[in-house]
Amino acid sequence: MNQREKEAYLREYSILKAQGKPFFPYAVAKDSLMGLLVVVVIIVLSLLFGAQLGPKASGATTTYVPRPDWYFFFLFQLLRVIHPPGFLGVATIGIPTLGMILLFLLPFYDRSAERRIERRPIAVATLVFVVVAMALLTLRGAAAGSPTALTISAPAAVKAAGKGAVSEFYAGRAASSDVGCGACHTIGTAGNPGPGPALTHVGSRIPLAGIERTLVNPTAPMPSFKGLPPKELTAIATFISDLK
């Protein structure tokens, strides 16, 4: 936008403004009606859906599926889609930060004088892409299970041991997902990178008995799983020891 375009815009705008109506009462009336509508919508939503209160938080349970408020679903889903090992920071903070910087600087790199949307093809393409991507990510994030659900597939050694071993592996994986190992451990490409160590190859370091002992009597802050049914505990321990 050069000086001539700036002056042309200001001249045009001053004419349009002079032909307009005063803010009070015309715009004020519209704004007040809209504000009233906003409050009514909030009241109706509160009456229809209310606010739930779940069980009290206790650091001991790891069975809980973490879920943010819906307007963070797209961010959570983004982390699940983009999961490059070693570049987790890029996915988690990098992409949202880049998005924010691009949003902040929009008026500084889009310097054309054109304001009509039908003559701004790049703006239309960006808008469609962002809206569709955010809507899809939000919908899929709403439908998806826990972000700590484990996705690792059976290693070759387990497959070689026969069908029974493979089904045992997946049963143990489901149990581990349910108790929320991924909340503190990375297993394959799923799970959080801390505070616990990665378990992707833990079976090659610790024997089955050691894993069982750790589950029952762990080092703080890991919670003990001795309250689980013994069958489930064995399934989890077998699954973890299969991770080689």
């Binding site: 375009e5 700036k6 815009y9 045009e12 705008y13 004419i15 349009l16 403004k17 002079a18 032909q19 307009g20 005063p22 803010f23 009070f24 715009a27 004020v28 704004d31 009606l33 809209m34 504000g35 906003v38 909030i42 939503l45 509160s46 009456l47 209310g50 606010a51 209160l53 779940g54 009290k56 938080a57 650091g59 809980y64 973490p66 879920r67 943010p68 408020d69 819906w70 307007y71 963070f72 987790l88 920071g89 890029v90 988690t92 903070i93 990098g94 924010m100 949003l103 902040f104 929009l106 008026p107 004088a113 304001r115 703006a123 808008l127 809206v131 972000p147 959080n192 505070p195 802050p221």
Partner: protein, 281 residues
């Protein structure tokens, strides 16, 4: 023989309806000899009192100029309902502020026992407590939706362009602060859902490059989730962020008033129409 002076022409235009003034307040004919405009009865003085108070305040603050500048500025031709999205967002923020104050009267930011119980007390025992908490919860959703709609309108109409670039930057800051508001408020009920979502959220912050670990340490008040984390989130949610958002909204509104709202991009000033300052010719 001199001609009679021309009669003053009567003002044209629609005759506006008169407000329904009680008969006691209607002006009565002045008795002969009294000065015009001088108050005579106690009722006249009472009728004058509002004007006197406003004049007294205005003499000391000189606010009437600002009020006129804000209220009687013109909005450009073509202004429509899409222009109410910004003020609707502000109303959602005000609703959040009001309901939040009522919740703060009962809430205790005590992680070791008290936070969850106080929220349960609000939900079950306080008069209209669950209704107000529901309004606060859904008000957050409404505010986020309105922020995005307002931003979409600004983007589609190219309203972020010259001379309103700075207001776009302030608006994006407000969007981010609104999201942080949602994130910090989510922990406060301190049930399983909010606790684990916050743990994961803070851990995600911690994976960021360079400042990530410091940011998550700051949010938690230490390397682990501990007793001060909740009160830290509470202070951010109800002291730092509302203050910052309110201040930035004022700055946003100042620039809106100073620069004027955009006209819709398809509305063009027709060339026959005189420019501002030429119409008196």
């Amino acid at each position: 023989m001199s001609e009679a002076p021309p009669r003053p022409r009567r003002r044209r235009g629609p005759r506006l309806p008169k407000p329904p003034v009680p008969p006691a307040f209607l002006p009565r004919p002045l008795p002969p000899g009294t000065q015009r405009g001088a108050p005579r009865t106690a009722l006249d003085h009472a009728a004058e009192s509002g004007k006197v108070v406003v004049d007294w305040i205005d003499e000391r603050t000189q606010l009437s100029g600002v009020t006129r500048w804000v209220m009687f500025r013109k909005v450009p031709r073509g202004t429509n309902w899409f222009y109410t999205l910004g003020s609707a967002t502000m109303f959602a923020f005000l609703a959040q502020a009001v309901t939040g104050v009522f919740l703060a009267m009962y809430y205790r930011p005590d992680a070791s026992g008290g936070a969850y119980e106080s929220v349960r007390y609000i939900s079950t025992s306080v008069f209209l407590g669950n209704f107000v908490r529901g309004m606060h919860k859904w008000g957050a959703t409404v505010m986020v939706v309105l922020v995005f709609l307002h931003m979409a309108r600004t983007f589609v109409w190219g309203a972020y362009k010259y001379p309103r670039e700075l207001n776009w930057v302030i608006g994006v800051t407000l969007l981010i602060l609104t999201m942080i508001m949602g994130f910090t408020g989510y922990l406060l009920p301190f049930d399983e859902r909010s606790y684990w979502a916050t743990i994961v959220g803070v851990n995600i912050n911690g994976t960021g490059p360079v400042i990530g670990p410091y940011l998550s340490d700051f949010l938690r008040g230490g390397p682990e989730f501990n007793a001060t984390t909740l009160s830290r989130f509470y202070a951010i949610h109800m002291l730092i962020l509302p203050g910052a958002i309110a201040g930035l909204i004022l700055a946003h509104l100042y620039l809106v008033t100073k620069l004027g709202t955009t006209a819709p991009p398809w509305v063009k000033a027709t060339p026959e129409e005189p420019a501002l300052g030429e119409e008196t010719a």
